[in-house]
């Protein structure tokens, strides 16, 4: 036998023996020869044969025909042979399920072996054989191994549960393996704990709501202990698991941080980054004035810097994450600019990431350094990188105003190099600089014009044309320049054509006398000779505008342009928060939430940073809203009571909005000390007009609209005129509804006039609209949409305008609103931006809703709770003000306020003063407490109020935009 001879040869030259020999026999009959070898009596021969089989297998040859022969070799004392056979089995069992059964007996026997290594090996291999028939037999041995006396076996068994779950999830649940796995988290051996955590995490990924990793302070403590003793990989699993925990308060948060910090000095970069994730998340809960907070910030920088001296692939992942960290907490790395300087032999993907971070870190303090570097990069070899560097200079100019001048001169220097692509990039960014700082750097236009001929990329040509058109009056030969572009009009890209059209129209409006011919030429080129609808339409619009009303044309074409924003590429805050929770994961590399791309994760949990308050209940609140996974919050039904209180629902009683209606606290770090939400609202509320009641002092009759304004309250007449209803003093009454005001005048909306107000009726916020058609034509197809706003207001249904609205017709519509829409902080807080659409166009307006509309009906707090909460309000969160000239007695005031869901919880009389203690609950779960001091005979009331950060008090963490500040004043 040839192979045998060869083996003999190899024996003689033993030192040269390598596995390459297994690849030499590829001749016919190979399988047959191997078969004979496998059935040989000699152990050694058997083993060599199995090795040969495995070698063929690893290079992708099909040796499945040998299945029975290989399995026959399984019953052996030789560990290596056994392992080799197992390797073979794992590969081929799936294709030969019936024969694989033959192996089951040996497995089951091996699971009883006195040697723990054999037991572990058997259970491990069995889990890898993805054949249903075999998995059935696996359950019993697995159960035993999970409770094995040897931790090595237990830890292997833990992973086996994950394998089995992957094959047959139902079986795992039915057999109760998940509970056993959970028990292993408390195992005495750290490696077992780590593997149990890893297995549970993997299983949990396919069961987002299963609550498998039920973390509580006890289990956290166990994990932290195991963290110190397990392997580096185990540390990664444990840290990633810890990151999902929400500590009860800042003290617990700090103690976890303290125990995690040593991991920052681990040699394994994945451990370091996972530790960074835990710290970034938990430090969110620490008060910023805490010494430890500062210490922690300082500790984060060095390990991040060290990651950048690792291999380029590690650097890349680290840089993508640093990009997030720098956006969230720029202070960590603000002094480390230099480590992001690019080395010429960095791989391109590292270079581009470094550049991005350099711009994010650019500030007045280091801009000189940054610019010098960027200028250096602009002379590098790699064209993509050079382009990005030039763009970066432009971004610096826009970001750091003080540096703009230097940036422009750097760009001019670069233009002087005449390197074609550098010049083009420079012109594109100079256009942006012009838009950011109009009328400042126009002196460079001459230099730009010199390079007109070298521009061959559409973006650069379009930018240049824009510049010429925009500053036509300062460029003597603007007409010639534009004319030169016009020659090849049809060969240009659309971008350039559109820009050229606009530029020439601008030029014409600025210098009408000499450019008539030119403008006619371009208009005819655009309208008659082009088949691009965009271009044609724009051409016709200009043509008509110019021919009918040149003045209007001037207003349209030469209108003031909005300034471009500072940093256009910042990640949106809510997304950034989520990504911070996913530091070190694929999501952080792609800068997308995991739900957006990870396959197989059926409904990923959205993660949020914890609130600074450390409110246990509170932080769970957003999760309730998001537990549904990918479904957008606005899709959640909001009005339906969660308790299934059907009767209440049917009777349309005032039901407390279910907890899910609370908008998600979006930003956490936002500290707005003293956000004056209600402003002087309450003040005028009592002081204002009481419906001309004779008992009231004269002179206030017309006050309500005026009073709040004079108090410079952001809410305007917000809470304001709750007393405005006048009427029966001393009995409860409905909530205050401000009078309707015109929100959208007809002249701004092609004849549609909208006026309206907000009301709270039966626990539902209503937007009451009056639509008037002042145009000549019929209006139909009405629809309404809100922009994101501070309290997540959103239409709960469509706008019910069913019949067409004829000319001069008016219709009143009531639109129920929900508070589960997306949240964004507005300024002023109660601002609401609305878009209304009809068959004619879309119109936009903004209005302000009274804050009292958001006061919910279940705001009546328990007295004890009130008392405890009141005491806990930090002084900073408290504010006081006076309500002047209110002539109600305390009871009447109390009743009046109750009508607007401001509840009197307790009353006390001290030395002739009535003290009313009141509570308000906002639709997003924030409580406001107030004390109203009324002195008989004195028309001035004193109000002290505050919100508190406390879990028993708020069902929603006070990281909502307005919560950390005290506002009722």
């Amino acid at each position: 036998m040839e192979w045998a001879n060869q083996l003999c040869e190899n024996r003689q030259f033993g030192s040269k023996m390598t596995d390459s020999k297994y690849f030499t026999t590829t001749k016919k009959g190979e399988i047959f020869e191997l078969k004979a070898e496998l059935n040989s009596d000699k152990k050694e021969k058997k083993k060599e044969a199995v090795k040969k089989v495995i070698a063929s297998m690893t290079v992708g040859k099909d040796v499945s025909a040998l299945f029975p022969d290989v399995v026959n070799c399984m019953q052996t004392d030789n560990l290596e042979l056994k392992k080799l056979v197992y390797l073979y089995l794992m590969n081929y069992a799936k294709s030969q399920p019936d024969m694989a059964i033959m192996a089951v007996n040996t497995f089951v026997k091996d699971c009883e072996d006195p040697n723990p290594l054999i037991r572990a090996l058997a259970v491990r291999t069995m889990g890898c054989i993805r054949v249903d028939k075999i998995t059935e037999y696996l359950c019993e041995p697995l159960r035993k191994c999970l409770k094995d006396e040897d931790p090595y076996v237990r830890k292997t068994a833990a992973v086996c549960v994950a394998k089995l779950h992957d094959i047959n999830a139902q079986l795992v649940e039915d057999q109760g393996f998940l509970d056993t796995l959970k028990d292993l988290i408390s195992d005495s051996n750290p490696m077992v704990v780590a593997n149990a955590v890893a297995a549970l995490s993997e299983i949990a990924e396919s069961h987002p709501n299963s609550n498998l990793l039920d973390l509580n302070p006890q289990s956290i403590n166990k994990l932290l202990t195991a963290l110190n003793e397990c392997t580096e990989w185990g540390q990664i699993f444990i840290l990633d698991c810890l990151a999902n925990y929400t500590p009860r308060d800042d003290r617990e948060s700090q103690s976890i941080c303290e125990r995690v910090t040593p991991r920052l000095s681990h040699a394994n970069s994945a451990v370091v980054l996972s530790a960074v994730k835990v710290l970034m998340k938990f430090m969110e809960m620490l008060p910023k004035d805490l010494d430890y907070y500062g210490t922690l910030l300082k500790k984060l920088a060095p390990p991040l810097v060290t990651l950048l001296s690792a291999e380029p692939e590690l650097q890349y992942v680290a840089l993508r994450n640093i990009n997030l960290i720098v956006q969230k907490r720029p202070e960590i790395l603000k002094h480390e600019m230099k480590v992001f300087f690019v080395k010429y032999n960095d791989p391109i993907y590292v270079k581009l990431e470094k550049l991005d971070i350099m711009i994010r870190l650019a500030s007045q303090a280091n801009i000189a350094q940054v610019l010098a570097e960027l200028k250096e990069y602009a002379t590098e070899v790699d064209v993509d990188f050079v382009r990005k560097a030039v763009r970066a200079i432009g971004r610096c100019a826009i970001k750091v105003e003080q540096s703009a001048e230097r940036c422009v001169s750097t760009l001019l220097d670069l233009i002087q190099t005449k390197v074609n692509y550098v010049v083009q990039e420079a012109i594109v960014v100079i256009k942006d600089i012009f838009r950011k700082y109009p009328n400042k750097y126009e002196s460079v236009i001459a230099t730009l014009c010199e390079n007109l001929d070298s521009l061959d990329e559409p973006e650069a040509r379009a930018a240049m044309i824009w510049i010429v058109g925009e500053y036509a009056e300062r460029i003597d030969n603007a007409d010639e320049l534009l004319e030169s572009f016009l020659e090849g009009f049809h060969d240009e890209s659309t971008q350039v054509q559109l820009q050229l059209l606009t530029a020439i129209v601008k030029l014409f409006l600025k210098k009408p006398t000499e450019t008539q011919e030119l403008v006619q030429q371009v208009l005819s080129l655009a309208t008659q000779d082009s088949d691009n609808p965009d271009l044609r339409d724009r051409g016709y619009i200009y043509w008509r505008l110019l021919s009918t009303d040149p003045v209007a044309a001037k207003e349209v074409v030469l209108a003031e342009k909005p300034l471009i924003s500072e940093e256009t590429d910042l990640i949106e805050p809510t997304l950034l928060e989520e990504l911070i929770c996913h530091i070190g994961t694929l999501a952080s590399v792609y800068h997308k939430p995991p739900s957006a791309f990870v396959e197989g994760s059926r409904g990923v949990m959205h993660k949020r940073l914890p609130a600074r308050t450390g409110s246990g209940e509170g932080t769970e609140c957003p999760d309730v809203g998001n537990a549904a996974g990918g479904s957008a919050p606005e899709a959640a039904p909001s009005i339906i009571p969660s308790q299934g209180d059907l009767l209440g629902d049917l009777l349309n009683l005032d039901l407390a909005p279910p907890t899910t209606t609370g908008p998600n606290p979006s930003t956490s770090g936002m500290q707005m000390g003293g956000m004056d939400l209600l402003g002087g609202g309450l003040d005028s509320l009592l002081g204002g007009d009481i419906g001309g009641s004779p008992a009231m002092g004269a002179g206030f009759g017309a006050a309500p609209a005026v009073m709040p304004a004079s108090l410079n309250a952001p809410v305007g007449g917000g809470l304001g005129d709750l007393f405005d209803l006048g009427g029966g003093v001393g009995m409860p009454m409905g909530a205050y509804i401000p009078p309707k005001t015109v929100w959208l005048p007809a002249m701004k909306a092609k004849g549609l006039e909208i006026s309206g107000t907000f009301a709270r009726r039966a626990g539902v916020i209503q937007m009451e609209l009056v639509l008037t058609n002042k145009a000549m034509s019929v209006m139909t197809d009405f629809a309404i949409q809100f922009n994101r706003n501070s309290f997540g207001l959103a239409p709960a249904g469509p706008l019910q305008v069913l019949t067409p609205l004829g000319p001069n017709q008016t219709i009143e519509v009531s639109l129920p609103l929900s508070t589960v829409g997306p949240v964004m902080k507005m300024d002023p807080l109660n601002n609401l931006q609305v878009a209304v659409k009809n068959n004619i166009d879309v119109f936009y307006f903004s209005c302000q809703y009274p804050i009292s509309m958001l006061f919910v009906e279940d705001g009546k707090m328990e007295r004890q709770v009130f008392l405890a909460t009141w005491k806990d309000i930090p002084n900073d969160n408290e504010s006081q003000f006076q309500i002047q000239d209110c002539h109600l007695n305390s009871e009447a005031a109390s009743n009046k306020l109750q009508g607007s869901n401001i509840f009197t919880i307790a009353k006390r009389t001290v030395e002739g003063q009535d003290m009313l203690y009141m509570a308000i609950k906002l639709s997003n779960g924030i409580w406001v407490l107030a004390e109203l001091k009324v002195q008989a005979g004195n028309p001035n009331y004193t109000v002290s109020s505050g919100t508190r950060r406390d879990r028993s008090c708020f069902t929603c963490p006070s990281n909502c935009p307005m919560a950390s500040g005290c506002w009722l004043s």
């Binding site: 992708g60 290594l117 993997e202 392997t231 000095s265 040699a267 590690l314 002379t379 590098e380 994760s601």
Partner: protein, 418 residues
């Protein structure tokens, strides 16, 4: 977790695949190969690639691509770290990491990979533990094995895996007990045209070779530990003691390991051992240029700078060069336009100089880019940061070990811009 591993050579051929879960078809690598085609250099292939059903995370090391396939959300750094471990393991077992070596030991590599991961979860990645389970091939052992039929696979339970010190195996015995430490520092620096330091930092590493019997407990202290900005330790180091007393206290793994790495980035602490005077210029008209480079010692702390080497990537439009070196020799590869000047020892009395003319291809414009110089150097018996080991104490064992510390400074990414 990690699903599969493919080893791919620079020409795009897959020569090993290992699956830890269900088998993923080779065709998944096409996405990677496509990205590889797009990249100019093999180093430029993006490390994380998103395909419709999988993620491909790869490293390029020792001229091989290690490509892993994952299906669920797994920390990419975890995967990359693991891939580097695989490369290190191959290096450790077979002396080098190359396609030939892997092909020669295919079955053993396969067995090792099987031991390293279970269902994609790391199982045994410590070299000490692996070596207990699968013994590395030695000439003697392969002879013995082939004669006696014993195997390379150990059949005892790797004890280290269970103890709280998984990095050390039990029952170590040596006749000569010795502990050696190498303090190796690399200077990463960027100097600008005028020789001013734009950026400089030191990457330090303490490599240990400890062959001590039993369970020795070592304490290593430095004269000046405060100069280290950031440190990362081998898991054996007790972090608490470092925090409080700035000493390294540890029970060492057996054999070679990296005890710690550190970082010094306070710019004023980073001494630049050489200066480089250079000018590479091209005449505005005509197709000629000149190159003139001189290297001299700067802050060398009285030591000799050796192994100096200057590497320049010349512009692509260069046709030929004609240079003379006063010391050492230079090589130039016209295909890659790579000029390497091997100087050797730096003599302060007679500074080495390389000068001559460069000629451009006819009609080619003046090159736009400025080539950077890459400097290599070595200084024996010096840690450029000034770090010094104070003493090494051993507890827990009775014998007296041999101890030694060696210092060496090298250039890391040391670049001079022109």
């Amino acid at each position: 977790m990690i699903n599969s591993l493919f080893l791919i050579n620079p020409s795009g051929e897959i020569f090993l695949e290992k699956h830890w879960k269900s088998v993923v078809s080779r065709s998944v690598c096409d996405y990677f190969l496509e990205a590889k085609e797009k990249a100019l250099e093999p180093e430029d292939v993006p490390p994380v690639i998103h395909t419709p059903h999988h993620y491909l995370i790869s490293i390029y090391r020792d001229k091989l691509f290690f490509l892993s396939v994952i299906q669920t959300e797994v920390p990419p750094l975890f995967v990359i770290e693991f891939l580097h471990r695989v490369a290190e393991m191959i290096q450790d077992y077979f002396g080098e990491c190359s396609e030939t070596v892997v092909k020669d030991h295919m079955v053993m590599v396969y067995e090792l990979l099987e031991e390293m991961l279970d269902n994609g979860f790391p199982l045994a990645t410590e070299s000490n533990v692996l070596k207990e389970m699968i013994r590395p091939p030695t000439i003697l052992r392969s002879v013995v094995n082939t004669l006696t039929g014993t195997s390379n696979v150990g059949d005892t339970l790797p004890t280290g895996q269970l103890s709280t010190i998984p990095w050390r195996r039990a029952g170590v015995r040596y006749t000569n007990n010795e502990a050696y430490f190498d303090v190796v520092e690399e200077i990463d620096a960027i100097l600008d045209q005028s020789g001013t330091t734009v950026f400089a930092e030191i990457q330090g590493v303490v490599e240990a070779c400890v062959k001590l019997s039993g369970m020795p407990d070592l304490t290593l202290s430095f004269m000046n530990p405060r100069l280290l900005d950031d440190v990362s330790f081998h898991p054996c180091v007790r972090y608490k003691l470092w925090e409080s007393e700035r000493v390294l206290s540890f029970i060492p793994p057996d054999g070679n390991f990296t005890l710690m790495t550190y970082h010094v980035n306070a710019q004023n602490l980073v001494a630049i051992p050489v200066y480089v005077k250079q000018s590479i210029s091209f005449f505005e008209c005509g197709s000629d240029g000149r190159l003139d480079v001189t290297v001299g010692p700067k802050q060398t702390m009285g030591k000799t700078v050796e192994g100096v080497m200057v590497t320049v990537h010349l512009p692509k439009t260069i046709l030929s060069i004609n240079l003379t070196a006063t010391q050492g020799s230079y090589t130039y590869d016209n295909g890659t336009k790579l000029l390497v000047w091997d100087i050797g020892k730096l003599n302060p009395q007679k500074l080495p100089n390389l000068r001559g003319s460069l000629s451009l291809q006819a009609g080619a414009p003046k090159p736009e880019e400025n080539p950077s110089l890459n400097i290599d150097l070595k200084i024996q018996q010096l840690a450029i940061s000034g770090l010094k080991v104070n003493r090494l104490d051993m507890f827990g064992e009775k014998y007296k070990p041999f101890k030694g510390v060696k210092y060496i400074t090298k250039a890391g990414k040391f670049q001079v811009r022109t």
